[in-house]
């Protein structure tokens, strides 16, 4: 068994005539925390949806935990946590019912972790999902994605709607559950400062291809630039 948890090889995806992914190659080793960087429209969300099997690749292959992403076994699905960029809950459900409903799908739901996060993040458990703010909705989605203690956690712009305090708490959570060397986490973001704290690897997606991927420390040793400066440099040409 390979130690690469996510493998994208030559992944292509187009919508109508628009080519979004044009041969993406990316491997994510077990236990790493990877930040997926890219400008708006670079294809981050499309790539992530291909990785979790919500979109079917037009060419190439996407594998996660050894399974083809498009035909994940129920066992593999139970080992993945996913927070989409656009979150939709049943608006009439109260948060506590939403939690109970989601928990019922997973045999290894961690009540303690779930309860602690809801308390720490001051999530209003009695409120109906439809009345939550964007930030609160994002918090609930993160809790629901981590409470079954997945081996792989994939988050699409998880911190975008969070206020500075919640973002710091979120980063602490990622640091806490991430390791060392155990859980694999991939998240897309354009907040480079967050990424520099929690990620040990970086992948840069540019016009449908991964143009750089590797250890963040290697990037810095090579460039002597911080991530934001590197990112701008990469998009300058």
């Amino acid at each position: 068994m390979t130690d690469d948890v996510i493998v994208a090889a030559g992944v292509e995806k187009r919508f109508g005539r628009t080519e979004v992914l044009r041969g993406v190659d990316l491997t994510v080793p077990r236990g790493s925390v990877v930040g997926l960087l890219g400008t708006n429209g670079a294809g981050k969300t499309t790539l992530i949806k291909c990785m979790v099997g919500l979109l079917r690749v037009a060419g190439g292959q996407c594998r996660i935990l050894g399974d083809d992403a498009w035909s994940l076994s129920p066992e593999t699905k139970a080992r993945i946590g996913y927070v989409p960029q656009v979150i939709s809950f049943f608006p009439w459900m109260r948060v506590r019912d939403l939690v109970r409903y989601t928990a019922s799908f997973y045999p290894n739901w961690n009540e303690e972790l779930c309860g602690r996060l809801i308390r720490d993040w001051e999530i209003p458990a009695d409120q109906r999902a439809g009345t939550l703010s964007v930030g609160q909705t994002q918090k609930v989605a993160i809790v629901l994605a981590v409470a079954h203690e997945p081996d792989v956690l994939i988050l699409d712009e998880p911190a975008a709607a969070l206020d500075p305090l919640a973002r710091r708490q979120f980063l602490q959570l990622i640091i806490d559950i991430a390791g060392p060397g155990q859980r694999t986490i991939l998240f897309s973001t354009h907040l480079t400062a967050d990424l520099e704290r929690v990620a040990d690897r970086v992948a840069v997606l540019k016009s449908g291809q991964v143009t750089w991927s590797g250890l963040l420390e290697d990037l810095k040793e090579q460039t002597h630039l911080n991530l934001e400066e590197s990112f701008l440099e990469m998009h300058h040409a």
Partner: protein
Amino acid sequence: MLFRVEPTSGTPITRQLSEQIRARCAGGQLRPGDRLPSVRAMAADLAVNQNTVLRVYERLTAEGLLERRHGDGTYVAGRLPAGGMRSQKEYLKQELRRLVEQGQMLGMSLEDMQQAMADLYEPEES
């Protein structure tokens, strides 16, 4: 024991942290047999990835500066590696050189710098 890293600097966190540990060993704030915080505690404290801290501990262990005791933790090695004292002093000299250059850029005289150092120097208690 306070360590500080600047994640948004162009210098990797791994390098920042290992240089601080080295400097503390060279400066005597960390002595042979002292225990370092666990990987998890250090990562939580600095708010950085645990893999990053682990990598630093592993590298410094490979250099012989630290010692990892299985299931117990990470300690400053009982004896500095061969030529260790010399290399630690060498390292301190490099740091001094850097500071002196910075002082010169700020227009400090040698006397100013010596005074600043004297103010910071605490004689070892006997």
